[in-house]
Amino acid sequence: MKLDVTEALRYLGVRGEPDPDLAAQVARTAEELTNRLTPRYTYQVFDLTRAGDGLRLAGTEVVLTGSTAARMLESCRRAALLACTLGARFDRMLLAAQARDMAQAVVLDACGGAWVEAGCDAAQAEIAARFPGQYLTDRFSPGYGDLPLTLQSGLCALLDAPRRLGLYVTESQMLTPVKSVTALVGIADTPQPARVRGCRFCAMNKTCTLSREGEACGR
C-alpha cells in the first residue's frame, strides 16, 4: 500500500507544481500517518440479479437503484462490495491536530483521504487477483451519481463492517470513523472503461476512439 502524495496535494487544491514547503509538509505528514496506521478493508462478491427498479445483490435485500449503478454495472454479472477505513485512531489524530494547528490538521485530513483510497486500491487489487481474466469497473460509492446514500447502512450490514472493521453508519447515513469508504466494483468478462477515474486509468486508453476525438465515456 502506498499513499499517493500527489493525490493528497490535489485534495489540498494544489494543481501543478506545489510550493516546496507545502510539499515537504505533506510528505512528512504522509510518512507519519502511514507509520502510525494501516487502512483496514473487507469485501464480498455478489451475483447481480435484475430487480424491479435496479440491480439486486443476490441473496440480499440490497437493491442498487438509479442510472449510475445501471450504467457502471451494465456488462457485469457480479460485483464486489468493499469497505475500507482508517479507523477511529485517525479521528483521534485529527482531533489532536486540530487542537494544535489547523494548517497541519488540513494536511493530515488530505493525507488521510489519500491513505484510505490507497486501502481501497489494495482491496481492489486483491479482488482483481481473485478473478483472473476478468475485468473490473471503476469503483463507485453511494452518493456518486444517483446511487443513493441511504444504501450505506445496508451495505455496511452486509459486510458486517461494524464487527470486522469498526466501521459504523449514523442515522444520517454518514460513515464513522471519518476516513471510511464503501464502494462497489463490477466484475465483467469484457474490458471496462474508466468512467470515474478518467481515461488515464482506462484499460482501453490506447485504443479508445472517443478519447482520440477528445471525448470521454464517463460523463
Binding site: 489540498l12 487544491g13 494544489v14 494543481r15 506545489p18 510550493d19 507545502l22 509538509q25 473487507t42 469485501y43 464480498q44 462478491v45 435485500e61 479507523g87 477511529a88 485512531r89 479521528d91 483521534r92 485529527l94 482531533l95 489532536a96 486540530q98 487542537a99 494544535r100 494547528d101 489547523m102 494548517a103 497541519q104 490538521a105 488540513v106 494536511v107 485530513d109 481473485r130 452518493g143 446514500l149 441511504t150 461494524p162 464487527r163 472493521l165 469498526g166 459504523y168 449514523t170 442515522e171 444520517s172 447515513q173 454518514m174 464513522t176 470513523p177 471519518v178
Partner: protein, 788 residues
C-alpha cells in the same frame, strides 16, 4: 447451582450462537437473529441445551443485539425480546448452568467520534440491564466491546440497575489494541476500577493470537480472566473458520495455563468445540497469576505507571488567572483545550483540571471540560474540585482511570469523597490536613496520611491509588515549614510507600527570583521522594530539573532522554543575529505564517503604535494579501491557516497589551458557527472558525450535530448577529433548512450563512439563508460585511 462459580477453578462458557442459528435453519432467512426467541424458541433452547450437555456452566442468552437501537423497526421492544431470550436460555440451563444476559455493542460510535452521547449509551444499556434482571438472568456479560467508553457506559448501567455480577470482555486485534486504539492494560485497569467481576477477551482472534493478550491481561488485573476466542482467523472471502474442535481445545489449554479461568468459544465454535475443551481441560486449573501491583492512571490508549517523577500540569485552574476565569464563565472551552495542549506538548504527564470560580456551575461545567479535553489530549486527568457532585459528574464521563484532587483527613471529607473515588475506580490525592487545620510537624502529617489511607482501604480503594500531598507552605512566611514538608514527604514515601504530591510553586510567594526558589525546592523534594510534582510545565527550568532528576534517580536509563534533549540543543548553531538574516516585517511574518515571529514583532510594535493602528494598518492588510493569494491559487489552505495562526499571535499580543492598559478588547462578537444536526464531521466548520477568529472575530462554536432548536435558542439568548451553518451530506440538508427556518422566525433574526460540500448558492437562497460561503475565506468576508 451455587453462586459465583467462576471465583475459583475453571469455568466453561458456551460457544457461538449465530453460527448455530444459521446452521440449524430454524430461523427463516431475513429474520433478525435477535428475534430468535420469539420466532423459534424451541430451537434456541435446543442450542443452549446442546452447550450445557457439552459442558458449559454458563450460557449466554441470545440478547447480544437486544437494545432499543438495534430493535428499532422490528416491531418488538427490549423488555419482550430480553424476557423471551433469557427464558429460552434458562429452560436449557436448568440447575446445571447459569444464564447470562448477553450485552453487545450498540452499533454506533460514541462521542467524540460518533454522535451517540455517553449518557445516551448509558440509557440504552440501562433499559437492557433492567429487563435482563427482571427476566431472571443470573449474571450479565458485556462483550465484543471495542470502545472502552461504551464498555464503561454498559458496566455502569449494569451495576447501577442490578445487583448481578458483571463480566466484561473486549475485542482486540493482533496488535493488542481494539479498533478504537484501546490497549489490554488500559481496559483492564479501568474496568477493574469500575467494579467488573471478571474481565477478558472475546472474538476477532483465534486462541493462538489471543495468548500474548491473555498474558498481558494477567499482569494487569486481579480479577478472574475470561477468554472466548474464535475458531481461528476466518477466510476473508467465504468467512470460514479454519480450526477444528480438537485443535481449538488444545490452544485453549495454553490460555488457561496463562491464567484464564473462564473460557469458551466465539465465532465459528459449536457444542463440539466446548465438549473438546471440556475433555482437554479436565483436571486443569488456571495458571499462576503474574499480577504486579502498581500505581497507574489510564486513558484508553495508554497506561501511565507512576513511581518515577511524573509531572502534573497545574495550568487549568482559574485561581488568580483572569483570562481562564473569563473563558470558563463564557463557556469558551477552546481556550481550556489550548492550555491542555500546551502542557502536553511541554512534557506534562497528567493534567490537573479545576474549573471552580464565581458564576460557574462546576457540576455542569466540569464534565463538559473533561469531554472536551479527552477528545484531543492523550494525557490522563486529575479532576480537581471541592464539590463532590462535580467530582462525580466528571469521573462519570471520564474515559479511563483518573485521579481526584482531593480528600483530606476531616471525617466529613473522607465520607463525602472516598465513596465516589471507589465507585469510579479513581486514584485520590489526600491532603495532610483535617478539620483542625494543617499540622506543623511531619509526624502529625503522617498521622493524617495514615488516617486517609486507612479510610481508603476500608472503602476498598487499593493503597496504590492513594496519593498523599504533604502540602507546601510559603517559605518566606513560615521558613521552618519547608523542612517539615520535605521530612513529611520522605516519611510518607518510606513508611507508607505511597505516591506523593506537592504543589511546588507555593514555596516562593513573596520572594524575588521565584523560579530559582521553585526549582531548588522541586529538586530537594524529588530527592526526598516526591513522585508527583504539581507545576507549570511551560516553565523550562522546572521541566529541566525533572529531566535532570530522572537521570540521577536512574529512571532515565543511560541518560538517554536527557542526552537526546540537551545534546542537540547545545550543539545547534546560535540563531542568526538580525543583521545576518533579513528580518521579516510584521506583515511578512503573518503572510509566511511565522507565528512566533509575528507575536514578537507585534509586541515590539505596540511599544510605539496604538493597538487599533497595528491591527488595521499592518495585520488586516497582511491577511488581505494572504486571502487574495489564496483565492487566486497562489497559496493553499494550509498556508492560509498558518497565516491565520500567525495573525492569532498578533491578536494575543494586542489582547495582552490591552489587558495591561485596561482598555476594552478589540474582538468583534455576535457570531456563532455550528454543524447541523446529523452531521458529525466538522473539520470544514473548524477551518472557517479559525480563519474568522484570525480576522479578529470572536466566534462561538456551538459544535457539531447541533439540533436546530439549540442553534435558535443560543442565537436568541446571546443576541447573535450572524450564524454560520455547515452540512456535509445531502441527508443533513433538511436539518440545515430547518435551522435557518427557526433562526429566521426569531424576533430579531440573525443573518445566516451556510456552507459545506453539498451546499450551493442556489440551495442557500432556496432555504432562506442570507449568504453562501464557498470556502473559509469567504466566511471571513461575510463576517466583515455583517459585523464590520
Amino acid at each position: 447451582m451455587e453462586d459465583k462459580i467462576w471465583k475459583e477453578g475453571l469455568t466453561l462458557l458456551d460457544g457461538a450462537m449465530g453460527t448455530m442459528l444459521q446452521r440449524g435453519g430454524a430461523l427463516p432467512p431475513g429474520t433478525r437473529p435477535e428475534l430468535a426467541a420469539l420466532v423459534c424458541p424451541e430451537a434456541l433452547t435446543g442450542i443452549h441445551r446442546a452447550y450445557v450437555e457439552a459442558g458449559s456452566r454458563i450460557v449466554y442468552a441470545n440478547t447480544f443485539g437486544c437494545n432499543a437501537k438495534k430493535l428499532a423497526g422490528s416491531g418488538h421492544g427490549v423488555e419482550e425480546v430480553v424476557a423471551a431470550s433469557v427464558a429460552a436460555a434458562r429452560a436449557a440451563a436448568g440447575r446445571e448452568a447459569l444464564t447470562a444476559l448477553d450485552v453487545g455493542p450498540l452499533g454506533e460510535l460514541l462521542e467524540p467520534l460518533g454522535s451517540l452521547t455517553f449518557e445516551g449509551a448509558y440509557d440504552l444499556f440501562r433499559e437492557v440491564m433492567e429487563a435482563g434482571a427482571r427476566a431472571g438472568a443470573d449474571l450479565i456479560v458485556i462483550e465484543t466491546m471495542t470502545d472502552l467508553y461504551e464498555a464503561k457506559a454498559a458496566l455502569l448501567a449494569a451495576k447501577e440497575a442490578t445487583d448481578l455480577p458483571v463480566f466484561v470482555t473486549m475485542t482486540f486485534e493482533e496488535s493488542g489494541r481494539t479498533f478504537t486504539g484501546c490497549t489490554v492494560s488500559a481496559a483492564a485497569r479501568t474496568l477493574e476500577g469500575l467494579g467488573a467481576d471478571a474481565i477478558g477477551l472475546n472474538c476477532s482472534l483465534g486462541p493462538d493470537q489471543l495468548a500474548p493478550l491473555v498474558e498481558e491481561l494477567a499482569g494487569a488485573t486481579t480479577l478472574p480472566i475470561i477468554a472466548k476466542p474464535n475458531a481461528g482467523l476466518p477466510d476473508p472471502l467465504d468467512g470460514h473458520y479454519p480450526m477444528g474442535p480438537e485443535e481449538f481445545a488444545r490452544a485453549l489449554v495454553r490460555l488457561v495455563e496463562l491464567g484464564a479461568g473462564i473460557v469458551g468459544g466465539c465465532c465459528g465454535t459449536t457444542p463440539a468445540y466446548i465438549a473438546a475443551a471440556r475433555a482437554a481441560l479436565a483436571g486443569k486449573v488456571p495458571g499462576r497469576r503474574t499480577y504486579r501491583p502498581g500505581s497507574f492512571l489510564c486513558t484508553p490508549t495508554r497506561c501511565l505507571e507512576l513511581g518515577g517523577a511524573r509531572v502534573i500540569g497545574e495550568r487549568i485552574n482559574p485561581t488568580g488567572k483572569k483570562r481562564l476565569r473569563q473563558a470558563l464563565q463564557e463557556g469558551d472551552l477552546d481556550y481550556v483545550l489550548d492550555l491542555a495542549v500546551q502542557q502536553e506538548d511541554a512534557g506534562a504527564d497528567i493534567l490537573d483540571v479545576n474549573v471552580g470560580c464565581p458564576g460557574v456551575d462546576e457540576a455542569a461545567l466540569l464534565p463538559q471540560v473533561v469531554k472536551k479535553l479527552q477528545a484531543a489530549v492523550s494525557l490522563p486527568l486529575q479532576i480537581d474540585s471541592a464539590d463532590p457532585a462535580a467530582l462525580e459528574a466528571a469521573l462519570r464521563v471520564y474515559n479511563g482511570k483518573a485521579a481526584v484532587n482531593s480528600v483530606n483527613g476531616d471525617p466529613a471529607s473522607l465520607a463525602a469523597v472516598l465513596p465516589i473515588v471507589k465507585r469510579y475506580g479513581a486514584a485520590v490525592v489526600g491532603l495532610c490536613l483535617d478539620e483542625k487545620g494543617l499540622p506543623q510537624t511531619a509526624e502529625e502529617r503522617l498521622i493524617i496520611a495514615r488516617r486517609i489511607l486507612d479510610a481508603a482501604l476500608a472503602q476498598g480503594i487499593p493503597r496504590e491509588d492513594v496519593w498523599i500531598d504533604c502540602l507546601t507552605m510559603t517559605v518566606s512566611a513560615q521558613q521552618e515549614q519547608a523542612r517539615e514538608t520535605l521530612r513529611a514527604v520522605r516519611t510518607v514515601r518510606e513508611e507508607l510507600g505511597l505516591q506523593t504530591v506537592l504543589g511546588v510553586s507555593n514555596i516562593s510567594f513573596g520572594l524575588p527570583r521565584r523560579p530559582l526558589m521553585n526549582q531548588t525546592f522541586l529538586s530537594a523534594a524529588l530527592a526526598c521522594g516526591l513522585t508527583l510534582p504539581i507545576l507549570d510545565p511551560n516553565r523550562a527550568e522546572m521541566m529541566d530539573a525533572v529531566r535532570a532528576f530522572r537521570v540521577l534517580s536512574g529512571e532515565d536509563g543511560d541518560c538517554g532522554a536527557y542526552v537526546e534533549r540537551f545534546a542537540q540543543a547545545d550543539q545547534a548553531p546560535a540563531p542568526a543575529t538580525p543583521a545576518e538574516q533579513a528580518a521579516p516585517t510584521l506583515r511578512e511574518a503573518v503572510c509566511r505564517g511565522l507565528d512566533g515571529e509575528a507575536g514578537r514583532l507585534a509586541r515590539e510594535a505596540l511599544a510605539t503604535i496604538e493597538p487599533l493602528a497595528l491591527v488595521e494598518g499592518e495585520l488586516i492588510p497582511a491577511l488581505d494579501w494572504v486571502g487574495t493569494a489564496y483565492e487566486t491559487g497562489r497559496l493553499y489552505l494550509p498556508q492560509l491557516l498558518s497565516a491565520a495562526r500567525a495573525a492569532q499571535s498578533v491578536f494575543e499580543a494586542v489582547a495582552d497589551h490591552l489587558a495591561k492598559t485596561g482598555a476594552a478588547p478589540v474582538k468583534k462578537g455576535g457570531l456563532a458557527v455550528a454543524t447541523v444536526r446529523g452531521d458529525i464531521h466538522d473539520i470544514g466548520k473548524n477551518i472557517a472558525k479559525t480563519v474568522m477568529e484570525n480576522y479578529g472575530y470572536q466566534v462561538l462554536d456551538l459544535g457539531r450535530d447541533v439540533p436546530p432548536e439549540r442553534v435558535a435558542e443560543e442565537a436568541e439568548r446571546r443576541g447573535l448577529k450572524l450564524v454560520g451553518l455547515s452540512a456535509l451530506m445531502t441527508t443533513t440538508l433538511p436539518a440545515m433548512a430547518e435551522t435557518v427556518r427557526l433562526l429566521k422566525a426569531l424576533p430579531r433574526p440573525p443573518a445566516v450563512f451556510v456552507a459545506g460540500a453539498v451546499v450551493t448558492e442556489d440551495y442557500a437562497r432556496s432555504i432562506g439563508a442570507d449568504y453562501y460561503a464557498k470556502d473559509a475565506k469567504a466566511s471571513a468576508g461575510i463576517a466583515r460585511e455583517v459585523l464590520g
